[in-house]
């Protein structure tokens, strides 16, 4: 059985945030890039890192910076590459970056699809066509109607996103439509049906849908609620737990200023594990933040379904 049995590093302190467990990297399967920093053309009211046009706390990554990390990643045996932000297509080097990565492995871009005119869709199709690896476009859409989506993602976001999806489908992509669950869990099937109908309307008749639970941080903490103080991962909770469920046992996030434990914890200094990939891969990630609790409860929701690790419990 391939259950990952990692030694959980005990912290000497018994109280305070230091009392949280830490977990070492088992294998660097996923390499994430904060490719557009915290810069986004939208300002969604559920954004867990509060991205917006004005949030420059993390800046764009250059093609050269990404390329260097890609070179390092080969030796580290990385399996999949993910690109997030902010809005990745705000980065003017994005198409070049995708050309670079798709020479060596599969790429997933987490996008709001509002910046995908026909020319870009065609360029992306050409890039995907020239690679043996898959290019996945994970499109954030947070409602089955204009009203529902735009209440979260801002006026005009729905129409522009649907146009982007239509262009992507037209050139042969099967984008993964990703939606944060903003409804009670027992209504999910109804919403999934709503998405299927909506997407069929733009020619997407076999949509790939991914529903993710809300992350109660950043803007979302203000929109719904913040984590309770009790919603934290403790040493005790890790006994007998399959640690490969936690993204930080198999991923790192490269940004324009440092390497982090995971893409969710960009705003937390405790999650900055080093200035280089090699350094960040060699140290354990502290599970000290409330968002770690979400990962513990739901499994690593950030990964694609095709690389799911969820069947080994």
């Amino acid at each position: 059985m391939a259950r990952v049995e990692l030694e959980v590093l005990e912290s000497p302190q018994l109280t305070g945030p230091e009392a949280s467990p830490s977990v070492p990297l088992e294998a660097l399967d996923e390499l994430w890039f904060q490719v557009s920093g915290t810069v986004c053309n939208l300002r969604c009211n559920h954004c867990f890192i509060s991205c917006s046009p004005e949030n420059h706390s993390f800046w764009f990554m250059t093609r050269e910076t990404v390329r260097r990390a890609l070179e390092d990643s080969v030796e580290l045996g990385v399996k999949e590459y993910y690109f997030t932000g902010g809005e990745p297509f705000m980065n003017r080097d994005m198409e070049g970056i995708l050309r670079d990565v798709l020479r060596i492995g599969p790429a997933s871009v987490l996008t709001n699809a509002t910046l995908i005119p026909p020319r870009r869709a065609q360029a992306l199709a050409a890039i995907a066509e020239s690679s043996p690896y898959t290019l996945e476009l994970r499109v954030s859409l947070d409602g089955v109607t204009r009203e529902m989506n735009d209440a979260i993602r801002g006026a005009g976001a729905f129409d522009r996103c649907m146009q982007g999806v239509e262009e992507l489908v037209r050139v042969g992509f099967l984008p993964i439509i990703t939606c944060m669950r903003s409804w009670p869990e027992d209504r999910t099937e109804r919403y999934l049906e709503g998405f299927r109908e909506l997407l069929a309307g733009v020619g997407y008749d076999r949509p790939r849908l991914k529903i993710i639970p809300p992350l109660l941080m950043g803007e979302e903490a203000r929109r719904s609620r913040a984590y309770e103080e009790t919603e934290r991962v403790t040493h005790e909770m890790l006994h007998g737990f399959d640690l490969s469920e936690l993204l930080c046992t198999r991923a790192r996030l490269v940004t324009a200023r440092g390497v982090y434990a995971c893409p969710i914890l960009l705003d937390y200094p405790s999650a900055r594990l080093g200035s280089t990939l090699a350094e960040a891969a060699s140290v354990s990630a502290p599970l000290s933040e409330s968002a770690c609790f979400t990962c513990y409860v739901n499994g690593a929701i950030c990964s694609n379904t095709s690389s799911s690790q969820g069947g080994d419990r």
């Binding site: 391939a2 045996g77 492995g105 043996p132 690896y133 099937e189 690389s307 069947g311 080994d312």
Partner: protein, 285 residues
């Protein structure tokens, strides 16, 4: 067919560990995975492999799932004395786990996976379940002196998906290096593919014998590894069999109509969400 030099009795060969002096050596072997209770395809493939002069046939795991009457497949594999690598289905059925450990996370995938698993578990004889509990996680042998490591998903995780379009060559190079193997031989994803490694070896995914490869053909696949002057050559072999007979048997057993449709059309109808975009786009659904 000549009996495989590694029989069930030769205990230590089954253990993961260092390559040994006694590691079995072949010139030509057949391998298949993902039988998914397709005993009709299995019978055809065994006959085909025999006619092609293979010295041994190796099963890469997942005897049950999807198809009808799982004991018929188990009987056939035991009668032929085939060595079997433990698949996630075999592991689940042997231990009576709650699910098949296929790693599905999508509700639609899980719906069909549950039907399939509950049927298989309920219809597998206790004696077969005990036997499945003895399958080793990996098998080692050589072909023309080249080291082959056989596993179900990956050498590090029984149910890891290694899809063609999501698996970088450098990742496979690392697995081969870590395990001292020249040929990596697996299954689990259900679509045959291979990749030349930077080191000169190869990764070979045998595909599945139980379900067509989502290519609109009714044939299913196994692979032959054969020693050549320069290394190990692999050939994917399509197996034509009585698919209509299987589909009818599935219907008689009350399995979902979607499963029989896949057998008749060659297109996957269920458990699709786990496919990467490129593989999904090649299929019909």
């Amino acid at each position: 067919m000549a009996p495989a030099p590694f029989a069930q009795e030769s205990g230590d060969l089954w253990l993961p560990g260092a390559w040994r002096e006694s590691t079995p050596e072949f010139r030509k072997v057949a391998a298949f995975g993902g039988v998914y209770s397709n005993h009709l395809a299995l019978a055809s493939a065994l006959e085909d492999a025999r006619e092609r002069g293979t010295e041994a046939v190796i099963c890469l795991g997942d005897l049950g799932a999807f198809g009808p009457n799982p004991d018929r497949t188990a009987d056939l594999i035991r009668e032929n004395g085939l060595p079997v690598v433990r698949g996630n289905y075999d592991d689940s059925v042997a231990r009576g786990l709650e699910d098949c450990q296929c790693g599905y996370t999508d509700p639609k995938d899980n719906h069909y996976a549950r039907i399939s698993y509950e049927y298989t578990l309920a219809n597998t004889a206790a004696e077969h379940r005990r036997w499945m509990g003895t399958f080793p996680p990996v098998l080692r042998f050589t072909v023309g002196g080249r080291r082959v490591l056989a596993f179900h998903g990956s050498p590090r995780r029984m149910n890891e998906f290694l899809w063609e379009t999501t698996t970088p060559t450098h990742f496979l190079d690392g697995l081969a290096r870590d395990h001292g193997a020249e040929v990596l031989l697996g299954t689990h994803t259900g679509i045959p593919w291979s990749r030349a490694l930077s080191t000169g070896g190869s990764y070979v995914n045998a595909g599945a014998l139980g379900r067509p490869a989502n290519d609109g053909r009714t044939e299913v696949w196994y692979v032959i590894l054969e020693a050549t002057d320069v290394g190990v050559e692999h050939t994917f072999v399509p197996v034509a069999y009585d698919y209509e007979g299987l589909a009818t048997e599935m219907e008689e057993e009350g399995l979902p109509a979607e499963f029989a449709e896949t057998i008749r059309t060659g297109w996957w109808t269920t458990c699709l969400e786990v496919l990467p975009g490129k593989e999904r786009a090649r299929g019909r659904w």
